[in-house]
Amino acid sequence: MLDAVSEIVLSMLVISLLISFARLVLGPTLPDRMVAVDLIGVLAVGLIVVAAPATGVQAFLDAAIVIALIGFVGTVAYARYVERVERT
C-alpha cells in the first residue's frame, strides 16, 4: 500500500516542481524568479524526504538538511544582490 502511495506522492511533487519551473521561466521580474527558486528548493527537500523511507537509505535525510541550508543562504545572498544592483 505504501509503495503505491509513495509513487503517487512523488509524482505530485514532480508535477509541482514542473509548475514552479514554469514560473521560473515566465517570471516577469527577478524577485518572481527568486520566489520560484525558493519553492523549488523546498520541493526538492520534500522529494528527498519522501524517497528516504522507500529506499531505506538514511543518508538521504542528511542531504535534505544540506539542501535546505544552501537554499536559505542562496536566497538571502541573491536578494542582497538584487537590492544592491537595481537600486544603483
Binding site: V5, S6, L13, V42, L43, V45, L61, T75, E83, E86
Partner: protein, 114 residues
Amino acid sequence: MSDWITAGFWLVGATFALLASIGVLRMPDVFTRMQTSTKASTLGLGCLLIGTAAQMSDTASIMRAASIGAFVMLTSPVATHVIARAAYLTDVPLWAGTIVDEKREAMEHAGDTP
C-alpha cells in the same frame, strides 16, 4: 498502523505542495505569490516530514526529520522577508487591486521618496 499515518500525512503534504505551486503560477504579483509559496514550506514540508518520521522508527532519522522541520520553519520567514524587501525596494509593480500600501504611506509621511 504507522503505514496509514504515513500515507495520510504524505498525501496532505503533497496536496499542499501542489496547491502552492499552482498558486505561484497563477497569482497576480510577487507578494501574493510569496504568500502561497510559504504554504509549501510550512504545511507541505511539515506534513511530509511527520509522515517520514512515522515510517522510520530509529531515533537518528526522527531527529534528522525534526531538525529539517525546525530549520525550514525558522528560516522560511526570514527568506520571505528578504525577498519581499528586495522586491519592494526595487519597485516591482503591485497588483492593480492592491488596497493597502502602508509602506508607501509611511514614506510619504516622512517626506521620503522611495
